[in-house]
Amino acid sequence: MTTTETVKDTAGDVFQPRLVAFVCNWCTYAGADLTGTSRLAYAPHVRVLKLPCTGRIDPLFVLKAFEGGADGVLISGCHPGDCHYSSGNYHARRRWAVFRRLLSLTGIDERRLQFSWVSAAEGQKFADLVNRITDEVRAAGPFDPSNPARRLPWK
């Protein structure tokens, strides 16, 4: 059963995860555009946020995503060596290596924060990636509302 088939279920009992993807403009966003122009279907539960570069992504964005209702977060950018700004992705890579461990230590399932390099030519990769991550986050289940990272309504 592929993800695209599952997507056809209406409301039903299947939990559909809310994914947020922070992607860089020059590579992954262009790659996602290619996915679309190639008419490749992929799981529709992801909201794509475009940034100039993965180097701009602050760990706070990830925290805000989980606060606001995300079940999973994807961060994706240019392959090392291909960064439009030369070294933004190198800085990002270093940041994430530490931040992902911190988030895991403090109780966010590792399946919920994922990283990838997707180039402007990798339309198929983007579709496959989103499908796979959607499955993995679905398997991890809905983000626990008692997790301290989640913002709850004020009483």
Binding site: G107, F115, P148
Partner: protein, 270 residues
């Protein structure tokens, strides 16, 4: 006490001949150890040091009220020395503006400049690993399920009142305007409730990644007894494992998170 006698003599000499304008050290007030700020040679008699002096005096070097009082002498045990090296590497201490009165449990090491301090640190501390008890506890926490981990931290962070004593006591936290004080937009909720406390404690730990010297001043300052060293050592361990970097031994080191290597691992990136 031998340390105190030599320390006071050196402090008095430095003040007496004008080599420094201020000496920052510790004094005893009953069982408490409090920071003192001495600008007159006769007043050095209160200076003392023992292993219960836990505050990191390097935190005072960035306080606006003291920033302009240079040159300054500072009583420094190895954690404080390492913090001074980190501050120097981040261009927070001008060359020659800080004189170090080095000491540790083995004795008083005299008036040191940054170079001699770095030598001493590399000789004495470089080989020491991170606190084994804390590493063990971290192992334990990592062995829990994500839900158990979340529940553990939820109960710890529930104690947080957002007093920011951790930030105030830390020499690495010297931003004139902290991220929590920025409100356009308000990145981190200022209310002492779950998500704000989570964000604050995570971001604080992340912002000292590669800069923390495990001095423990933050945890000692926390009025609620939150085990902050678990977060700090966890992050320090990540930085050491991933990049082989340990803060506070090289004043010319580039900041861990602010730099990169083409060889950085990316086994977690798809």
């Amino acid at each position: 006490m031998e340390i105190a006698t030599k320390l006071r003599a050196d402090a008095a000499a430095l003040l007496g001949d004008g080599r420094v304008k201020l000496v920052i050290g510790y004094a005893a007030r009953g069982a408490r150890r409090v920071p003192v700020f001495i600008s007159e040679a006769p007043k050095v008699e209160v200076l003392m040091w023992d292993a219960t002096c836990r505050q990191n005096l390097a935190a005072y070097l960035s306080k606006p009220d003291l920033k302009t009082l240079r040159p300054v002498a500072i009583v420094a045990s190895p954690p404080v020395m390492r913090s001074l090296v980190v501050l120097a590497s981040e261009a927070q201490i001008e060359d020659g503006s800080v004189v170090i009165l080095g000491l540790d449990e083995s004795g008083y090491h005299g008036i040191l400049d940054l170079g001699k301090t770095v030598e001493l640190l590399n000789a004495v501390c470089k080989g020491q690993g991170l606190d084994r008890e804390i590493l063990g506890r971290l192992e334990q926490i990592r062995g829990m399920s994500p839900q158990e981990r979340a529940a553990f931290w939820a109960s710890e962070f529930a104690k947080c009142t957002r007093c920011y004593a951790c930030r105030a006591a830390c020499p690495a936290c010297y931003c004139a305007r902290c991220i929590v004080e920025k409100n356009v937009p308000q990145w981190i909720s200022t209310a002492a409730a779950a998500h704000g406390n989570f964000a604050w404690n995570i971001i604080r730990a992340f912002h000292v990644a590669g800069r923390c010297t495990s001095c423990g001043a933050c945890q000692a300052a926390c009025p609620q007894g939150i085990p902050l060293m678990l977060l700090n050592v966890g992050v320090t361990e990540s930085v050491e494992t991933e990049f082989g970097i340990r803060a506070g031994f090289d004043p010319d080191a580039k900041p861990a998170i602010g730099s990169y290597s083409l060889e950085d691992k990316e086994d977690f990136i798809r």
